[in-house]
């Protein structure tokens, strides 16, 4: 069920401002792809175009082509809601629904899509998703408690459980560990390794070691200058990226000599 994504010549605009320019890449199915680069270079913006979350912001639009499983995401006949159902997303800050319990948070995607599910089926989805997110053992005795009562790392894993409960084909992660301590980060990295066998994962990170640890392919985004659009400098297998990059800018950024 995991799908590959083909991106060709994508430019992203906020109103008149061009945020990202001419990105082309192929994201492989059942692998982890990491995006690295300085702040404001458009990694997150690009990630959000992959499930049409970008257009939630007024004035935002996309040019170019993104093809998932032979279907163009930006075809006029495509329903963005359907796209988001099949390409899930985890955000930088954990954002469980404050009015819902842990149990209801996991089921939110299924429930809010007005699917009628039986109690036994619901229980099964909750347990499978929470186990999938490595959270089951910590919360199985308090599924009825509010999701906001968990620690930051647990909340983020709850959000991952919520995202995988709807069984998406692709999982996008926008700096999922930036608000977490090292132990929670390690837990989520382990989780990414496990999820790789079932999902196509795209992760944005500021942590280069993290990109090196979890990803198979890495894309390096950069800005030519302040106020200019961001662009993809290099897209290569992670091993090559961190040992023998094609582009001197990539090497400068990865080795910390950035400027």
């Amino acid at each position: 069920m995991a799908k590959s994504i083909d991106v060709s010549d994508v430019s992203i605009y906020y109103g008149d401002f061009k945020a990202v320019e001419d990105v082309s890449m192929t994201i492989k199915a059942k692998s982890v792809t990491a995006f690295i680069g300085p702040s404001g270079c458009g990694k997150s913006t690009f990630l959000r175009t992959l499930n049409r979350m970008h257009e939630v912001i007024p004035g935002a639009r996309v040019e170019g082509k993104i093809v998932v499983d032979g279907q163009s995401l930006y075809d006029p006949t495509v329903d963005p809601v359907e796209v988001r159902r099949r390409i899930g997303m985890v955000f930088q800050r954990p954002n469980p629904f404050p009015t819902m319990s842990i149990y209801d948070n996991v089921l939110a995607g299924n429930r809010l899509n007005s699917k009628k599910i039986k109690k036994s089926e619901a229980d099964e989805i909750v347990e499978r998703s929470l186990r999938g997110a490595n959270l089951w053992n910590e919360v199985k005795d308090r599924l009825g408690k509010p999701g906001m009562g968990l620690s930051g790392g647990q909340q983020q894993r709850l959000c991952i459980a919520r995202a995988i409960a709807v069984e998406p084909e692709v999982l996008l992660m926008d700096e999922p560990c930036s608000a977490l301590d090292p132990i929670s980060t390690a837990a989520i990295e382990d989780l990414i390794h496990e999820l790789k066998s079932d999902y196509t994962i795209v992760i944005v990170t500021h942590n280069m070691q993290q990109a090196a640890r979890v990803s198979d392919d890495t894309g390096f985004f950069n800005l030519k200058a302040a106020g200019r659009p961001g662009h993809l400098v290099e897209f290569n297998p992670t091993k090559q990226m961190f040992t023998n990059p094609d582009n001197p800018d990539t090497e400068a950024y990865i080795s910390g000599r950035f400027g």
């Binding site: 809601v81 429930r111 919520r162």
Partner: protein, 359 residues
């Protein structure tokens, strides 16, 4: 800095300064009050002069004392503290006064018979004498029905307007116009709302129409802007993160609004609605124009005049007999009690529906 300098100007370098005693404010206020009382008695002024005199004495004496003993900044601090406390007391006086007056004058009349009868004559079951009407039941029922009608009209309209403004109209010209019109509506004099309802029904049903629903419409004109404003503010407080989390799960926008945005802000919305209700429940002018006044019970919101509490108070007051003054006070007390209950309810409900963060 040399040791000699340290000895001569200790205050410039050390953290500790001479302070007034902790009870200094009290030590000024009590003598000031005593002096004021004494002067008022001696010169046989009106007793209002006493607190005013005491206040003036305090704001002169306390800062001056502080200026001599402490420093300039501390003196300014004490002066402003005095002014702020003075303002609070001035603001509290009418509130406490009105409450106390209403309770003292209204409480004796507030009885079971008062709450269950209207103003028609009735037979005393013990003495078998005809008693003049002395009840508020018809006004109580009228107020509750008319206000309920107003809420039923204005809550859906207000809530939907707020949803449009927050979720769909962001930055659009229509939304800016609606916001402006809502602001203008906030400033409509209440009697104009009553005249509007009267004119509307005259146009449709002919001259001389009176019914409870006209009052509801007049009150809803006053309620809608408050409901829109409070619901709008509450829904804006819902973080964008939550909407995005919902969209990212493939939830359509309308379900996101119904299942995520509204539940998250429900506590605040209910509080806002309740406060809007307690704001219009005491309106007199529009009800007098649109609904009129009546001495007997009328349950039917859609036909004929009805009595309401504010109009009841006015009617009894205009009769100008001691007995009717008492009834007016009791009516006023009842109105205050209803508003208080509504406010308490709003707090409780707001707490219940507030997003839960605890473990």
């Amino acid at each position: 800095m040399s040791a000699a300098e340290l000895n001569t100007v200790p205050s410039a370098t050390s953290f500790s300064h001479v302070r007034l005693p902790r009870l200094a404010p009290l030590m000024v206020i009590v003598p000031a009050l005593a002096f004021g009382a004494l002067l008022t008695l001696l010169l046989s002024w009106n007793w209002v002069a006493c607190p005013i005199l005491a206040f003036v004495l305090t704001i002169i004496a306390l800062p001056s004392w502080s200026l001599v003993v402490e420093n300039r900044r501390a003196a300014t601090n004490r002066l402003v503290t005095c002014l702020v406390w003075g303002a609070i007391l001035v603001a509290l006086v009418p509130l406490v006064w009105v409450l106390a007056q209403t309770v003292v004058k209204g409480a004796p009349e507030l009885s079971g018979s008062f709450l269950t009868h209207d103003m028609t004559q009735h037979l005393d079951p013990v003495t078998f004498k005809m008693l003049p009407g002395a009840g508020v039941a018809h006004a109580l029922v009228g107020t509750l029905l008319i206000t309920l009608g107003a809420a039923v009209i204005s809550v859906p309209i207000g809530l939907m307007t707020a949803i449009y403004l927050v979720e769909y109209g962001r930055g659009k010209r229509v939304a800016r116009w609606i916001t402006l019109l809502v602001d203008v509506m906030t400033g409509i004099p209440s009697i104009v709302a009553g005249l509007f309802a009267a004119a509307l029904f005259t146009l449709i049903f002919g001259i001389g129409t009176h019914s409870g629903i006209m009052g509801s419409i007049a009150l809803s004109l006053l309620m809608i802007p408050t409901v829109v404003r409070s619901a709008e503010e509450m829904m804006r407080l819902v973080p964008m993160d939550l909407r995005e989390a919902s969209y990212a799960l493939g939830v359509p926008k309308w379900r996101t609004i119904v299942k995520v945005v509204i539940p998250t802000s429900l506590g605040g919305i209910i509080t806002g609605v309740t406060l809007a209700i307690s704001r219009v429940i005491g309106e007199t002018a529009p009800l007098l124009v649109a609904v009129g006044s009546l001495d007997v019970m009328n349950h039917n919101l859609f036909s004929g005049r009805m009595q309401t509490l504010p109009v009841y108070i006015l009617t009894e007051y205009k009769k100008s007999t001691p007995q009717d003054y008492d009834l007016a006070w009791a009516g006023a007390l009842l109105l205050i009690i209803i508003v208080m209950i509504l406010n308490l309810l709003a707090r409780v409900v707001g707490k219940i529906f507030a997003p839960k963060t605890g473990r």
